[in-house]
Symmetry: C2
Subunit: 357 residues, 2 copies
């Protein structure tokens, strides 16, 4: 077990050594630690080695000149100049919030960025301003459109954070696929099969092999198969790709550069880097914030008090992550031995030390 403080300090030092300004290193560390606390370790400390390797191969820019390249009172396009995802994303969401203060809502599309970690971090930035926050990003193409065998979409997650009053905020944070890619990797390592409806083989046949992506297979969109609405999951992933990729002038679809240093860059680029899309809606652009929050409390308690299926519990989006955060803050963060080894290795190369807990 590690304390959040230890991992945060270590992460700050790592990114400072990669010549990030201290403020940026702090931002990156905060997003990583938040992912660990919210029990989303696939977006936490495990990514440090990936970022180190991307830095070594000059695929990320640790001293970016992040700029607004186009704007109106309520919209902007941000060029993140190849920044580490968290840096450009945080800056972009701040701009969306500032614009919302003036015009009711603010919308920022970001290009020339990289993997941004957990989208909920950015959407939740809106909450303290009594705003609804929205975050989307495109991602490495692994998902086939309905009826296709081509991998053209990422898992393209959507996050929406809505403030409440007495109740904790509503935080929906989900990929537009039945499962996250990490779950396939875990099943493959354990030698387990996965349920049908997650992946297909290279001819589009249903498959239960979690390792099928290495054999030309693809992930399926939310819905799983066409009968169960995979064309809707495809449409949803496509909307994220259009807003995050087409709109800001980033890459989209199969042109998105991979965020792993060992994967080659695509030969053709249709824009700059990876793309994101952020929104902030001021509650009092619609009604008094206090009234809205009372209404959200009513919504949340109505749904939380829904009759459960026997033996189950009805949850509000965000409940699990919030409960994890409370628990892990007390108990500490558990880091898998293989990741500890990676962190030691990166630390050694950067002249730092990573101490086992």
């Amino acid at each position: 077990m590690f304390t959040p403080e230890y991992l945060r300090e270590f992460t700050i030092r790592v990114f400072e050594k990669m010549s990030c300004p201290t403020d940026d290193a702090i931002t990156i560390a905060d997003v990583f630690i938040r992912a660990e606390l919210r029990n989303l370790p696939s977006h936490g400390m495990i990514r440090i080695k990936d970022y180190y390797q991307l830095w070594k191969t000059v695929r990320i820019n640790t001293n970016p000149d992040i700029k607004v390249v186009h704007e109106t009172p309520g919209t902007a396009v941000v060029d993140a100049d190849g920044a580490i995802g968290m840096v450009g994303a945080t800056r972009s969401m701040k701009i969306a919030i500032e614009k919302a203060k003036n015009t009711g809502t603010g919308w920022v599309a970001t290009r020339n960025s990289n993997h941004l970690g957990i989208g909920s971090y950015y959407a939740m930035m809106a909450l303290e301003h009594d705003m609804i926050g929205i975050s989307m990003t495109n991602a490495n193409p692994l998902v086939a459109p309905a009826n296709s065998v081509s991998r053209l979409l990422g898992t393209n997650p959507i996050t929406v954070a809505v403030p409440a009053g007495q109740q904790p905020a509503f935080i929906a944070d989900f990929s537009t696929t039945p499962i996250a890619r990490g779950k396939l990797a875990v099943a493959a390592k354990k030698g387990e099969k996965v349920p049908f409806g997650f992946v297909q083989d290279n001819e589009g046949n249903p498959s239960d092999d979690p390792d099928i992506l290495t054999q030309g297979g693809a992930m399926l969109p939310l819905g799983g198969d066409l009968q169960h609405g995979s064309h809707k999951g495809y449409a949803l992933g496509a909307i994220v790709d259009i807003l995050s990729g087409v709109l800001p002038g980033a890459n989209f679809g199969p042109f998105i550069p991979p965020n792993l240093a060992f994967m080659p860059m695509p030969e053709v680029q249709v824009g700059k880097g990876m793309g994101h899309f952020f929104g902030a809606l001021r509650i009092d652009g619609f009604m008094k914030a206090e009234e809205f929050k009372e209404r959200m409390d009513k919504w949340i308690t109505t749904f939380r008090n829904a009759k459960p299926i026997k033996g189950k519990k009805v949850l509000i989006p965000g409940d699990l992550e919030r409960e994890a955060e409370e628990r892990i803050k007390k108990e500490g963060i558990s880091v898998l031995p293989a990741i500890v080894e990676d962190l030691k290795e990166v630390a050694g190369k950067l002249g730092l030390e990573f101490k086992e807990a």
Copy 2:
């Protein structure tokens, strides 16, 4: 077969007889005919009898005083004063478009409204202004949250319309459930079973009975079961309900008034009528419209040229409805005999005539 012109004229006369101003009657007829042309007859002529009955029971207001009750430069809440859905929705989307002209985007949440027909009609209004159009609505509660047996959400559809250049526009229009409710009704009438993953019984067990809703069962959110991500479909439907219902001061969740006259009004109301949410994003708030449209053409052709599963065709959202529209415009609109009888009945009661084709 009927010509679109005949059905449009008839529909205008029907709503004029229900004392709608002619402009409103034209709007309503245009949305109905568009639904028929786009091969979405469940939202077309079949609804005329429902609206007639809602009018007879004074559950809709055919002379509404539609007002903006709150606004900022980029946002507004519209009170539709109990209007027929199409009337308040069209007015609301126009306001969103006007606001987008000034601030880059416009967002309108609408309360005190009713069933609005096809959401694509409103989202597509943005296209001619070189804007992305968004439309959402909450709906009669038939869908159970993940892990619950309570029917708390509607099929809560989302529509996003994105302009392109040489290619036809991208029009995603989908409910946040595996299937629309109409498909259950059709299967039930035919005495057929439905695949598992669409509905559950009153204890939350998987069911293949399309008539299960009449026995306390519920529809399932997109994803179907928890393993395949029904918590994501639940989150998506919840987002639509919050933006469409909580935000404008409309009803939400189980409090939504039914749009069928024979169903009693809920005893408790938490707001006014049904709610919608509309958005318009000016493309040139982000980049030059011409450049964006070229990029959308590239996106569309990339996805349309994806390798299909053998014997299948890869579609762009909106392809099927656009192809239907071209065909039905030529061939005419087919109306089921039972609906023809309904239309004759309504016509008779209003002192009109509906002529068989």
